[in-house]
Amino acid sequence: MRAFAELLDRLSLTPSRNAKLTLVRDYLRDTPDPDRGWALATLTGDLTFDAAKPTFIRKAVEERMDPQLFWWSYDYVGDLAEAVALVWPMRPGANREPELSEVVEALRTATRAEVQRLIEGWLDAMREPRERWALLKLMTRELRVGLSARLAKQAAADLGPVPVAEVEELWHALHPPYEDLFAWLEGRSEKPTSDNPGRFRPVMLAQAIDEAVDFAKLNPADYSAEWKWDGIRVQAVNERGVQRLYTRTGDDISRTFPDILDAFHEDGVLDGELLVMRDGKVATFADLQQRLNRKAVDAKLMAQYPAAIRAYDILAEGEDDLRTLPFCERRKRLEAFVERQHTPRIDLSPLQPFSSWPDLADLRAAPPEGDPQIAEGIMLKRVDSIYEAGRPKGPWFKWKRDPFLVDAVLMYAQRGHGKRSSFYSDYTFGVWTPSPEGGRMLTPVGKAYFGFTDEELKQIDKFVRDNTVERFGPVRSVRAEPHAGLVFEVAFEGLQRSGRHKSGVAMRFPRINRIRWDKPPREADELTTLERLLEQIEAR
């Protein structure tokens, strides 16, 4: 348990993806079975048990120490599990420190009363607060260490090394503690079989097109085009009685979308965009968000926000794996398949004919249904491309629509994390609004922390330090007056109304497009510009 605790502790404070990968990979390499498998299941979210309530632990700690002293401690630390982990009086020799597998076994099988007794005994035996913290976080299922399931699988794949797609495809055939997986990755046995119904197939991703370079080299006749819909990408599987809906990283979201899965009556695996659709018209992303992140859904919610799949590929049909067929063949099978399901819950992403690249540019400028918010741009797929997991270079491209732009003024800067912790790299920017005194004042409209080069970051950082008005902890307010300040051209993908923001609007995916060293703040945009844009979007 100690090694696992150290891993969680470090993950929770490590900002960089690569460093996290190293930490997990090294842990998996150096830890014996079955502990490492249980750890992996914990990190991927595949370990299920009823979370224990933290209240009993508070009672237990107050039996062991003065409640007033505990209260001051809790008040100081702010987090119950952490406070308990720190103050718990150790009883040396009371017990033996448990292995991770013992803890997991107990959490999965023991009764609630037994679990409580076991946990108290383990806390008594553990020497380090870090270990007690990990135990309590595990027990309450609140391991927030900032690691995606995919990254954990990547770390396991690196043991081989094998491509992460192979691990992902196998994943749903595997069960914790994954001894067969590790045996294969370490070359001690054959690859486990992945032929189980309902499994996730790793997805194929597109590269961003480089307009200046790629078009000159590509022949328009080799590619087919379609809109890049702005929902979330999913994989719907209906196979030998097993129905699953996965995100593009393999997270199972079946329970949230029973309406979609019910619409299948043939076996098949579709790749498509999850959208909210009313009478064949795509609703906004905000509507889709009403359905995402819900643990349970009811008939009312499903009727209010009817979900659908706009399908663009088919990976399997009946018993046949179609991934080695060329795109044009798969497309024919897809069209026929969608037709036969005959349901408003599944429709087809139509191909957009074009004959030349300028033709395609015109198409991209004229968004579907006249609404720039429902598609992010255009997808290009080579007609002869097989379905290949990962992001191969050449067969698929995405050509994003030009973003919305606004000129805004830098108001606050905050220190970054990790590599950027010596830089002011998170920026809050604002636009002009009428002030109560009759003049104009700046109101924050968003935050951005990327879109600039390292060199530009240094320049902005210097500007922030040279123009600091006030400091509050890691945040500095920066000089922002009509004649002195820094203007950013901010690019963003969409706009929504928001009660949480003072300005009343929230941007989607804002980033710094250009630094306008040349522009005085008085020439930055006014909030009315954004409000007009929002009205246009809502009026459609």
């Binding site: 150290e6 470090r10 929770s12 404070l13 490590t14 900002p15 960089s16 460093a19 190293t22 930490l23 090294d26 120490m65 003065d66 007033q68 002293l69 505990f70 001051w72 401690s73 100081y76 630390v77 702010g78 987090d79 952490e82 406070a83 720190l86 103050v87 380090e128 607060p129 220190r415 994390h417 990790g418 590599k419 912790s421 010596s422 902890g473 890691p474």
Partner: protein, 337 residues
Amino acid sequence: MIRPQDLLCPRPEGLYCAPGDFYIDPVRPVDRAVITHGHSDHARSGHGAVLATPQTLDIMGERYGAQFAQAMQPAEYGEVVNRDEVEVTLVPAGHVLGSAQAVVRWKGLTMVVSGDYKRRRDPTCPPFQPVACDVFITEATFGLPVFKHPDDKDEIARLLRSVAQFPERAHMIGAYALGKAQRIICLLREAGWDETIYVHGALERLNALYERHGVDLGPLAPATTGRKKDEFAGQIIIGPPSALQDRWSRRFPDPVAAFASGWMQVRARARQRGVELPLVISDHADWDELTATVDEIRPGELWITHGREEALARWAELHGVSARALALVGYEEEDED
């Protein structure tokens, strides 16, 4: 009947001894001062006469220049010095080089002012020596049960594991310039780290002072910009805590920010400062050391100078020792920098 407050009482300048006419660790300039140790919140410049250990006087000279007071009187550990009718003895506090408790005796009454102290072994200074007394006047910087400093060997081992795990990155440790930095260096040497340790300019003079006083720090080199970035890969660099997020850190390859402090026990503190590898190593007594010390000395009364007085006072009352919080101001939580 002699009362403790006739011998020592809190004043805005600090603890004042009327029968000996001196202050202990005064925060403002006074005529006569007894200084427990060299940290700047305890040892200030501009006093008339200063009594302290030779090491502490040396540290003050290094910080403030040779003329930091009008008269300096060194007292070795255990040496009895008379101040009017009062006997003053400095005994080891185990906090940093030269750190002492001030034992004050007058008309059969013994009061001990602990200064800052810890009970763990420290390769750079002799261990805390408990003295039987009527009144024990303690600090309580880490006076909450959440503060339980782990074994420093384990913390150093964690650091060295990280160095091995990330050979392409530099490990940059924030450590208070007086005491903590040198202790970390010694602990690294004891753990077998023989490589050159790179140090920030702010540490150089105090490192040299420690070496003059017989503390061997092994090979050190300045972490200057003259070196190529990747020369620091796999290396350990020590600087003051404020340098961690400073532009100074940019000269190192993808540095792992480590911070050696008792405050690192609390995750939110580590997160606030962007610390990736918190090292819970402190030069102060943790909760268990504070309570064990009170238990061991069993003073007639416990006075608490600064820190989290209320929790320690409550613990003392629950354990039958009458306690009083002095709430002296001017002593910062030094690791906060």
